[in-house]
Structure formats: C-alpha cells, structure tokens
Amino acid sequence: MKTHVTIALRNLTRQKKRTALLAIAIAFSVMIVTVIYGLTSAISVNIAENFSDILGGHIFITGSEKHGTSKEISRISNDQALRDALKASGINYSYVSSYSSTFATIIFEGKTTSLLINGINIKENENFRKRLSLKKGDWESILTTPNALIVPEKVAQTLNVEIGDVVIAKIETVYGQNNVGEFRIAGINYNADLVSQLSSYTHTAHLNEILGLLPGEYQTFAVRLPSLKETDAAAMKYYDVLKNYVQVFDRKTEANGAPMTGFQALLRSQKKESWEGVKYRLFTINEQLAQIQQFVSAADTIGTTVLIILFLITMVGINNTFRMIMYERIKEIGTMRAIGYQQKDVKRLFLLEAFFLGMIGMLAGFLLAGILMAIVSSINFGMENEFFILLRNGHITFNLQFAKIATIFIIVSILTLLAVSLPARKAAKLSPAQALGTEK
C-alpha cells in the first residue's frame, strides 16, 4: 500500500501546474461553502443572542388566568412559585427579568400599522440599551419620557413619524376590552429581519397601565442563562420542576400537526384547553425565533446545493484531466500490468491520486476559508447599522460545526472519487498488450 501511496503522491507532482489548477478549483468550492456554512450558523446564534439580550432572557414564562367560562387573562400577578421552581431546578442562570407585550394598531395622521409593543424595564435593562441600535433619538430622552415608544425604521417610514410625534395605539386589555393609549416616538431603531420589523418597545409601567395590569403585575417572566447553548436543556429541566409547583401547558407539539414551528404548535394546542386559575406556558428564545431557524436551514440547503453545483462543474474538469492522464500514462499502465499489477491495483492507483488531490484541495479550501473568515470577522461594522441584529458586537461572526466540515469532506471526497472512477475503470480494463501499444 505504501508504494501505491508513494506513486499516487509523486504522480501528482508530475504536472504541477495541472495539479495546482485542479486543487484550486476544489479549494475555491470548499472555501465558498465553508464560509456560507459558518456564516449561516453564526447568524442564527447571533439573532437569538441579540434578542435574548433585548428581551432579557433565554427562557420565558407567560401566565394565562381563567375563571369558569370567563375569557383568558394574560398576566402574572405573583411570580413566587416561578422563582421557587427556578431555584429548585438547580439551573445555572444569570438573572431574571419581566416584561409585558401586546399587539397594537398604531395610528398617526390617518395612517395605521400593526405592531408588537414590548413593555421593558428600560432603565434597569442595560443589555437592552446596548443591543438595540438607535438610528434616531437618544437613550436619555427615552428614559425621561414615561410614554416613550421606540419603533423600527420601517414602521416609522410607514407612519411617516419623526422623533417627538405622538401616536395613538389601539390595544386590547388583558380583560379583552378595547383601549387606546398615547405614545411619544422617542427612538427609531434599525431593523434587519422580520421579527425586528414588527417589534417596538416602551416602558413596562406605561404599557401595563394601558393593558389594565395592576402595579407589580406583568406578562412574561424571563430567565437569562449564561449562554444560549444551554437553553433547551435548561428549559426542559425547569419545565420538569415547574410542573410540581404550578399548572403548566404541555410543551409537546401536536402529533398529527402539519409542519410548523414548535412555538406555533405550542400555541395552537394550548388554545383548545380549558382550565381553572392560572396556567403557565414555558417557551424558549429558540422556539420564539423558529422562523430564523427555518431561514438557517434554508441557507444551509442552499450552501449544500452550491457545493454540489460548484463541484459538479469541477468534476467535469477532474474527469477530463484524468482521462487525459490515462492516455498520457497508457504505456506505464501497460508496463505495470505486464509486471503483475492486477486491474484493481490500477484502479486503486487512480482513485488514490484523486483522493489525495481532493484532500489537498480541501485542506487549501479550509485554510483559505479560515483566513477569509478571520479577516471578515476582524472588521468592526459598529452597532448602528441595519444589520446589527445579525452581528455580534458589531462583528460578523462565523460558527463552523464539525458536522458541517465532515459534510463537506464526505461530499467532496465522494464526488472526486466519482469523477475519477470512470477513467480509473477504463484504465484498469485496458489489456496489457493494448496499453503497451504493441498490438498492431
């Protein structure tokens, strides 16, 4: 085997320029796809991290109160049981916070738009102020305006509002009654994705008042974990303990449900239920941002498709080159066969050569991707731009998982070997006399 390997490796050095060109073609494909994989994976993590910074948590609990046949009221009046369960679960968490949120119709000078208003404790939530990037307005005036509203750029354009304008919000209180409230536009933030385009922020106290919540009441209890990675495991642990303290909604999705996000399934199944008192639903930032995950899966599929298309083109080149190589070395193949090389040995030699070519190309591709990612991630784009939600602290980040590298490795190896298998087969099938050119 050592000799086969030696010959295969040395054969690659016979036509250095040709080998280099093929390796560059492979390396280019591998580099592009590695960067795509690294980017999509990091974007999903960054969006989730940035949102969990803004909302102050990775795990969220909302309370739904029901008495007899009365309408469901979304509020948490006493969170002691939630805190006790959290302590008992033994989860390592950074802090807990609370907020309210509601869908509202915003009206300004005859123009309307629908929007999610989140009531946040802006003063105490430093992370929120760090993560939400303002295009217009400043935090000082937001903090001093009790009915301040921060709207996304797109909403500001739709309503044609500027800083200082007062808008009317039509809101349904927690009791199901219609109510209106006044908000002063104090900030306009950048928006890069669908979730940010539909979310606005105000002070908890002002939103609670319009929602009809009493002082001390709120709607969402948020648990901030040290890292996003721990979210699913921690949520599971917390949920298992929480079941023993309070009534909780089932977290399982409908068995016969059509394809949908976990969060949608959760809400759909819970709407059909009937209960007495307060029942809590627990969900995670991952479930809330399931659409982002879908985007990432789509981007990954695109990445794999790009890899395969780029490589199919490269395969044609590799196939042609190895056909050429076969004719160039036809006498050599004949000699080897005459000396005692079996057909499978000839085939193996070609495949080994292709395998090493693929390996050189892949290593170069990974190396180039690493350099490219290092350069791009060192650039600071700042937080005040439209894509802040996709970035981490103003930097494009890359998150390359081992499974993705393994996928690239397997696909490229298989396709390279496939590209060479036909010429290799043809070379192996040559009769020694034919190959030595002595038949005529």
Binding site: T3, T335, I339, Y341, Q342
Partner: protein
C-alpha cells in the same frame, strides 16, 4: 520437459475490416535455461509471439503452455499472477516508472502480490542486482537522470527481481547504440548462466542473434528456422 511450448499458435488482428494474420500456426519448444533469440524482419511476428509467451496477449487459436500449464483458459487475474511470478519483462523503450528511483523501480514487482523473495532477503537481493547491473552509484536516481544503457540495466534488474523462470526481452537493444547493445546482451547472457534463467529476446540485429544458443527465425508469421547452436538438426521438443 520444455518450460515453454507453443502448439499451432495463430494470431489474427483486424485493422478496420481487414483481417491480418500475424502468426500462422507456430509450434516450438523452449528448454529451461535457454538463451534464445527470436529473429526476423519487421512484421514477421516476433513481438506478437513474445507477447503471447509473455501472457500479455492471447492467441486466436492454439495453446501456449508455460511451466507445464496451458494458459488459454486462464482468467485475467490468473494470467497477471503468472506474469508476476513466472515471467520477467524487458522492453525496447525500457518502460521504467518515471516517479520511482532506480532502487524503487527494481523493488516495485516485489511489492505487488506474493513472490519467492522472503521479506528479510529483499534489500540484500535488490542491492545485489543493482551491483550486478553496475548501477550502485545510481540507485537513488530517477530514470530521466540515466542514459539509455543505464535504463535498460535497471529494466534487466527489475525483470530479475522476482527470480522468474523466464525473462522476455522485446528488442532490448533497439534504442541503444551498438556498443551498449552488445554490453546489455552480454549482461543478459552472464545472468542467464549464473541464475539459469531462460532468456528469450527478439531482435533483427544479426550480430546479437549470433550470441544466442537457440535461434528461432520468423518470416511472415511462420517459423523458417529453429536451431540450437552445435546441433545440425532443427530443434525439436524433447
């Protein structure tokens, strides 16, 4: 008992739709240890007969028997194994593997399949062969750094490395000047007497033919002369 027997061997080629009868029913025997020349002009069928003896081509009809074994029904795998273990080849254009150096080229046949050379004996045997062909100083050199004569010496050592019973050489001196050609034939003759290996070589050089002790002369695909030195009668199968 002859080591090689050809029994009414015919070989027909098709050049497009034209049938070419390259060998027309040839029969002869070769004894173990023979130093035999297959002589004849171009197109007489020398190479075709050597290829059939060397099991790299199959007769259209007839039988080639090597070491008492009929070969016409053997599979490609079995033929390859037999080529590896029983036969050695020397080619007109040397046919060395360009990416391997002298030592590696000679070693190459020992690395594929089973051989009669024990692993611990290998290095010493290759060094001995290199010394025998006078290339000790050149063993780390690649073929493109050697002269034609040196390359053919490497090919001779490579052909002998598996200790084959028979070495086939197709016009081994055709690409060499006459002096080097004679040296190569003398080297082959020396090894033939030292190792008792059967050497069969084709040539159209009368001077080289005269060195052989068994001459088979061909013309238009037929044997026109089959004689052993010192024997007045045509050579017969014993």
């Amino acid at each position: 008992m002859p080591i090689i027997s050809l029994e009414n061997v015919k070989k027909t080629y098709y050049l497009g739709k034209v049938e070419v009868e390259a060998v027309k029913g040839v029969s002869f025997c070769i004894e173990k240890g023979d130093f035999i020349s297959i002589a004849g002009p171009s197109g007489s069928g020398k190479t075709t007969i050597l290829n059939m003896i060397g099991l790299i081509d199959k007769p259209t009809s007839g039988e080639v028997i090597i070491d008492d074994k009929p070969t016409s029904k053997l599979s490609d795998r079995e033929l390859t194994k037999m080529r590896h273990q029983v036969l050695g080849f020397i080619f007109q254009s040397f046919n060395l593997i360009p990416v391997l150096n002298v030592w590696e080229n000679i070693e190459f046949p020992l690395l594929i399949g089973e051989t009669r050379i024990a692993p611990q004996e290998k290095k010493e045997w290759i060094d001995h062969l290199i010394e025998e062909v006078g290339l000790t100083e050149w063993k780390k050199h690649k073929p493109n750094e050697l002269s034609g004569g040196q390359r053919q010496r490497v090919a001779i050592a490579r052909a002998l490395v598996t200790r084959p019973y028979i070495v086939l050489a197709d016009e081994p001196t055709a690409n060499l000047d006459s002096k080097t050609g004679e040296q190569i034939i003398e080297l082959m003759k020396k090894i033939n007497s030292e190792l008792d290996t059967t050497f069969i070589f084709s040539t159209h050089d009368a001077k080289i033919v005269s060195i052989a002790d068994h001459i088979i002369r061909l013309k238009d695909g037929e044997v026109i002369e089959n004689v052993r030195k010192g024997e007045p009668q045509p050579a017969e199968c014993r």
